[in-house]
């Protein structure tokens, strides 16, 4: 990310200044509150002018986040946050574009876009708040839910299929920054967000964000998370090994690599009237 010019800095902005007046719809104790707070802290730390920030999301509990930030936002349709953000960034490269959503939005209905956003490597920050459940539709299994989780009426015997492995799939698809944070570790999460926003290219931040309502057992996550023992690395082979060993609870930057960033030049050398000549006989 380019350095912010001094002239547009708003030195008085604090984290709370990035919060909008809209009240979240989230349940008490939802991990997404901590993510919202970390986003505002990271923006304040980076001294980003509010109007230069755009947050794009799809559908789901966590996708409600843009309205709670006092910046430009787009709360679009289910699963399509990454394409919408990619179009915005292609057209307006000077903006800091964050993308937020959940595990269903990003890995199920939006799974194809996740793959292609990773390999396109535009300068976007993608924050997935993973609670291993569809909360907004009242508790169905998501791609990251354990196969034997039987508490949804939709899958009374569990899904019976293996879990989606977000960091490993991001690595295979060509993402250039992969990190995992935890809603219960707000300071660590803020730091990861700062690094992700500053990373030039597609930064994928996988956030373990517990659902108090449909997955109360996730209260135990605070005892299960641990710092990533091997990372970070810029070597994809090492990263692949690390992710094979991953128990899903390792926190920190797992992989960071400088890769070519896709961004059109948007530099005009002609006007449409110049093209008439091509067709004249």
């Amino acid at each position: 990310m380019a350095a912010v010019p001094e002239t547009v800095l708003s030195p008085t902005l604090r984290a709370k200044d990035y919060k909008s007046a809209v009240s979240p719809v989230w349940c008490p104790g939802c991990g997404d509150f901590a993510v919202l707070s970390a986003v505002t802290k990271a923006l304040a730390y980076l001294k980003l002018p509010k109007e230069e920030v755009a947050i794009v999301s799809g559908i789901g509990c966590s996708s409600r986040l843009p309205a709670y930030i006092d910046g430009y936002g787009f709360h679009g349709v289910h699963g399509r946050a990454l394409p919408l953000a990619s179009g915005l960034k292609a057209a307006r490269p000077g903006l800091t574009v964050l993308v937020a959503g959940g595990d269903g939005d990003g890995f199920s209905i939006g799974g194809n876009h996740f793959l292609h956003a990773c390999r396109r490597n535009m300068d976007l920050t993608y924050i997935v708040m993973d609670n291993e459940v569809y909360g907004m539709t009242k508790g169905q299994a998501s791609p990251t839910t354990q196969p034997d989780w039987e508490r949804s009426k939709l899958t009374p015997h569990g899904t019976g299929i293996r879990r989606f492995q977000p960091p490993a799939i991001a690595l295979a698809a060509g993402a250039s920054f992969i990190a995992r944070g935890f809603a219960g570790d707000p300071n660590g999460l803020t730091k990861l967000l700062v690094d992700a926003i500053q990373h030039p290219g597609f930064a994928f931040l996988h956030v373990l964000s517990p659902c108090q309502t449909f997955r109360p057992e996730q209260k135990e996550w605070k005892h299960l998370v641990h710092p990533c023992r091997l990372g970070p690395t810029d070597n994809p082979a090492q990263a692949a090994h690390l992710m094979q060993m991953d128990d899903g609870m390792a926190l920190g930057t797992l992989y960071a690599q400088q890769l070519p960033v896709w961004q059109p030049a948007n530099h005009a050398t002609a006007s449409p009237a110049d093209f008439d000549q091509e067709f004249r006989i």
Partner: protein
């Protein structure tokens, strides 16, 4: 009214052959040659499903007046060979006045063609080509064909130079020799039109395809971002746009699918850049949820739908006007949007330019219908018209303290800030919202926002671009999109035959320009609604809008055969 007889002076030629025989190249050179000779012209093509090669046919119609559709029959059919010609028989109507031209030593002309009563002329095309270095049979045939059609040799040579002159080797030299030898074959060395200066039309003429014209119109309208997924027959529009967008400071992003492309253009347009995607029926189906988001969030977008035969994969390489229903009704919820249709190859430029300006000004979704017949055909035409109106997006650069993105205004259009504008922050949302954009499920917000989104389209004055009206007779042919070409010619023929007929073609289909259409239909005593689909999609829409009298009739015929003026004239006589 133009003299209907003059269309009889338009010559119709078809060239058919297997993959590699050069049927389409021959057609392209012929089109350039007729342009050089001062004619108007039209080149349509038909291809089989093969990825590469395979049989194809090129159809060229030319004459001294505008050519807006293929004729009812062909004067000359050139068979470079007869491989799989049975696949094209329906598209190559011949009669006893037609001439079939083919190689003396090739296969015999198939009975499916000779049963028309057409004369057959077998000439030593291959023998001549074999005697020329880099000689090709199709170029010998082109020379003969040009002579028979009364074109000057120099025009054919010019056509070859401009069409294949940039290709390497001695291809051009061989072609020129073959064209000359073929030309002399029927005329014992004399030039049909002499080498006198060609009667080049004094006015400027263009050689352009519908997909190119659509791309040009989009750029003229201000489009600077395109995201799209390849699909037949829209891909050439994208292939033209990609390098040209770069030159004007824009970009084209090849998306992973149509769900992505429609959301990408919504994102770019939210950022303030006029944006478009191009697709065909299956892709449009995939985009519908995204278009609802564009409508709800009032983000301007334009979608080009270059229609093909449907439903499902249908007939990707051939034309049909069967996506009007999805364009009109495909969005869920109450989602007012614009539906426009280009009326001819050059009109693709005007219609797309206008559509972009309307979408921007009205912060609306515009679906613009073209089709394979317009998109993949080329024509020699007068320079495409430009839209001269000033329709801008209401961008708020200095929002007031009480800025409301979705303010309920009298005309329904609200101020829009762009990211980067201080104090203008808002979250665009597919959730229903209040005037500030904050999500709301309250009845009063829903009703106010729905009403505003309807009002801004319904109450806007669209001006004279709504459609084309030709003629004043009491009989009316009413149509939309690419069918307009055949309808205009049919109306002329009917009028010439003593049945005064007017033609009305809709460029703006939704919202329906009720007042203008009523005026255009004033005083008519018969109406035939003409369209190339099975269900009579325009006919039923117009009835639903109460825009037709109960005695109006429908001529709805599915593709992929293009509508011909003769069948429309025939249908009129059946109505009477």
């Amino acid at each position: 009214m133009d003299n209907p007889e003059t269309h009889a002076r338009a010559t119709c030629i078809a060239i058919t052959g297997s993959g590699g025989s050069g049927a389409v190249t021959t057609g392209l050179i012929l089109l350039a040659a007729v342009a050089r000779a001062g004619h108007y012209g039209l080149l349509t093509r038909s291809a089989g499903p093969q990825i590469r090669g395979g049989e194809s046919a090129a159809m060229v119609r030319f004459g001294p007046r505008r050519v807006e559709c293929m004729g009812d029959r062909f004067d000359i059919l050139v068979g470079l060979d007869w491989s799989n010609v049975d696949r094209f028989v329906d598209e190559l109507p011949l009669d006893a006045r037609s001439l079939i031209l083919t190689d003396a030593k090739g296969e015999p002309v198939p009975e499916v063609l000779t049963r028309s009563g057409a004369a057959v002329r077998q000439l030593p095309l291959k023998e001549i080509a074999d005697g020329v270095a880099d000689g090709r049979l199709n170029m010998v045939a082109l020379g003969t064909l040009g002579a028979l059609a009364g074109l000057p040799l120099s025009a054919l040579e010019h056509g070859a130079r401009t069409t294949i002159g940039t290709k390497g080797g001695n291809l051009l030299q061989g072609a020129l020799q073959c064209i000359g030898a073929g030309y002399r074959l029927t005329l014992d060395g004399a030039d049909a039109a002499g080498d006198a200066p060609i009667s080049l039309a004094s006015a400027e003429r263009w050689n352009i395809s519908g997909n190119e014209a659509a791309g040009l119109g989009a750029l003229r309208g201000g489009v600077r971002f395109v995201a799209a997924y390849p699909i037949t027959p829209a891909s050439e529009m994208l292939e033209w746009l990609a390098p040209h967008l770069e030159l004007v400071g824009g970009s084209l992003l090849q998306a992973e699918d149509e769900l992505a492309s429609v959301n990408m253009i919504i994102g770019a347009s939210f950022g303030g850049v006029p944006s478009l995607t191009a697709t065909s029926g299956p892709g449009l189906s995939l985009m519908m949820e995204g278009l609802g988001l564009a409508v709800a969030s009032e983000t301007p977008v334009v979608v080009a739908n270059v229609q093909r035969g449907g439903p499902s994969t249908g007939i990707p390489t051939k034309s049909e006007q069967s996506d009007l229903n999805i364009a009109l009704y495909g969005l869920h919820g109450d989602a007012p949007h614009l539906v426009l249709a280009a009326l001819s190859i050059p009109d693709c430029a005007l219609t797309f330019q206008w559509a972009v300006r309307l979408a921007e000004h009205l912060q609306a979704t515009a679906i613009v219908l073209s089709d394979q017949l317009l998109g993949q055909s080329r024509a020699i035409v007068d320079p495409p018209a430009q839209f001269r109106g000033a329709l801008e997006r209401w961008v708020e650069h200095k929002p007031a303290d009480d800025y409301r993105r979705y303010a309920v205004t009298a005309d329904g259009i609200s101020p829009m800030t762009l990211p980067g504008t201080p104090a203008g922050m808002y979250t665009a949302d597919g959730l229903e919202h209040g005037p500030k954009g904050t999500p709301s499920s309250m009845a009063r917000d829903h009703q106010a926002q729905l009403a505003k989104r309807l009002r801004k389209l319904r109450d806007f004055d669209y001006g004279p671009q709504w459609g084309e009206v030709r003629g004043t007779g009491p009989n009316c042919l009413l149509t939309w999109g690419s069918a307009a070409g055949a309808v205009f010619e049919a109306a002329e023929r009917l009028t010439g035959a003593g049945i005064p007929t007017r033609a009305v073609a809709l460029r703006l289909i939704a919202p329906l320009p009720q007042r203008d259409l009523a005026q255009a239909l004033d005083g008519v005593s018969t109406i035939l609604v003409v369209e190339q689909n099975q269900g009579g999609q325009l006919f039923h829409y117009l009835h639903a809008e109460q825009a037709l009298p109960p005695w109006a009739r429908s001529l709805a015929r599915p593709g992929p055969l293009p509508l011909k003026p003769g069948e429309i004239v025939q249908a009129c006589s059946e109505v009477d």
